[in-house]
Subunit: 345 residues, 2 copies
DNA sequence: TTGTAAGCGTTATCAC
DNA sequence: GTGATAACGCTTACAA
């Protein structure tokens, strides 16, 4: 069906070996023969068989990238950054998604191993993942991996992510200074490290100020999305609870919160403030211009890549890294002190 | 480094052949030997080498999927649908993006061929693509392909996409009936079929009604996104042009248009209507609840998959299909006649 | 039921 | 510079 090296060799009247050398631009082959080989290759529409090459070279030129899904702007932007780096580095990407399903995640790890990726970048998202040891399959097969955005405790691999604890503390500090006292957090399961870090940051800060952060101020969102957030928040306000600060794990739930405040006649930011994560939606298309904790995808990806490259080349262990976040203040937080603290608008 | 079939064979004291048969669940192998093989495989942490398997079987189990990018909700949703189907069908997906760069697109086609994908699903996005023949590389290598969402004229492959012409006509009809006379279209380059279809639909309808649709009523957006749309629209209104109907190629530019109308004190939908494509953003998080032409991703993907499967199995040619769109009326169009025409809110 | 051996399409190590 | 030839790790006739 498709032309093989053998076909080229036969047509160009050289051995397969020379044909291979010529096609791979190796030195030590007569310029004329090279030209002949290249010409017949083009003529026959030859495309080298990557499968066979991977096998022979014991190198696939592939990097596995695993994210929960790509219909989420955060992940898709992350992937875009990764893809660009990978292109620059001369790798091809194998992108897979897990839908936060542990069986898919396991399957995809095997997929990576099966195709002998040279490295793996993994965004972990399985909650209550008691035994994430299946991840070790990579290392057992000599495949370097780095966690991005999050990590599974107990797995001996470096992680590169935002300094969420610090970022949330900074946000809580700003909210506290501007008068908020009744804090709520809307987000995912705390068995996931990133959520735990955010909760800890809130609780620690408030505790230091002699305030409480009761368990029921943590609204667990199964899918941290609009409807769910709206319903939970609406119920909360209808029950008469006082709430003047909400930190939401994503923009859609934050906007849901805003709409609920509107519905209940609570002025934002006068009576209540909202801070969300990420800064990926055009602020001007939204019902309100959200204040948010922006993550530096570029730096996260850069650091991940450096790690991975070092691990692949030197066989080094790699080193975890926390990337600073940036508090972006817009219309869902009070303006008080904004200038002095140096927060960007 | 990683255990191979040979290792298993040696440890389990059988030949490689039997080990292979056992691992692949083939019949004709003693239950005891099978168990022994399976056990040692698990023990050694064996993962079969997909590269070698592809080579030996002359089948990769891979389907190539190519989209312009994944940071766009339309594409990422499309991919999510595709991925699910592929999983059900037992294929693995190789997802690549082109950033609408013709060199990347060519490179990725070769990538597909190189790894001998069993089929390819391609969302074409290169404008002014004079010579899209490089796409034929797939067919030349016996790889069935189907265009999704759009197509390159002149390439002999089926396409599955929305019936954009009909969808836009329906929208224009609604706008006309509700009083609009000065139509504008904001979107991508008309060298791309999908844009051409939309423009034709508008022009044809208006011509039939004895109205004009001058060339400068088509605002070409390089990247059909917020800022660009805002600037163009703002300039237009500032120049004093009358505009009472805008069809925008995506939600972000539609929302930009809305903001521009607001800025100029033009009431939407009283004085001007806006209809965008896609229905992927929660309407309630936006500055206004957009009316839109919704595409049926599910049906597009289903049809694509059926085509591809038939082409792979029977070697059939595949057949193009246009999937109906749905006009969703919300707050950027007048309510007149909405009920009678049976349009959903 | 099991083993032998010939591929699959490359690359890499040698001689020549 | 070039050409045999042996890997690479698996599948699959065909024998045994």
């Amino acid at each position: 069906m498709s032309a093989s090296l053998k076909d080229i060799a036969r047509t160009a009247q050289v051995s397969e070996a020379t044909a291979s050398l010529a096609l791979n631009g190796r030195k030590g082959v007569n310029e004329k023969t090279r030209q002949k080989v290249l010409d017949t290759a083009k003529e026959l529409g030859y495309v080298s068989n990557g499968t066979a090459r991977s096998l022979a070279r014991r190198k696939s030129g592939l990097i596995g990238v695993m994210v929960p899904n790509i219909s989420n702007l955060f992940y898709s932007n992350l992937v875009r950054h990764i893809e660009r780096s990978l292109r620059d580095m001369g790798y091809k990407m194998i992108l897979v998604t897990t839908e936060s399903n542990i069986n898919y995640e396991k399957e995809m790890i095997r997929h990576f191993v099966s195709f002998r990726v040279e490295g793996a970048i993994i965004y972990p998202s399985i909650k209550e993942n008691e035994k994430p040891e299946y991840i070790n399959l990579l290392m057992q097969n000599g495949i370097p991996m780095v966690f991005i955005g999050n990590y599974y405790p107990g797995i001996d691999a470096p992680h590169v992510m935002s300094d969420l604890y610090k970022g949330v503390r900074e946000a809580v500090d700003y909210l506290y200074i501007t008068g908020s006292r009744h804090f709520y957090y809307l987000g995912g399961c705390k068995s996931i490290v990133s959520n735990q870090l955010k909760l800890d940051a809130i609780r620690d800060y408030l505790t230091e100020r002699g305030l409480e952060f009761p368990d029921d101020h943590y609204l667990l969102l199964e899918h941290t999305r609009y409807e769910n957030a709206f319903i939970r928040m609406d119920a909360l306000l209808s029950s008469g609870k006082e709430v003047d600060a909400v930190i939401a794990a994503d923009a859609f739930s934050a906007l849901a919160v805003y709409n609920v405040f509107q519905k209940h006649g609570i002025k934002v930011p006068d009576k209540a403030s909202i801070i969300s994560f990420d800064n990926l939606l055009y602020p001007d298309v939204c019902v309100t211009r959200l204040s948010c904790i922006e993550q530096d995808l570029g730096s996260i990806v850069n650091c991940t890549m450096q790690n991975l490259q070092a691990m692949i080349q030197d066989g080094s262990k790699g080193v975890s890294h926390l990337s600073p976040t940036k508090l972006v203040l817009r219309d869902t937080t009070k303006q008080y002190l904004a200038a002095e603290k140096g927060y960007a608008g």
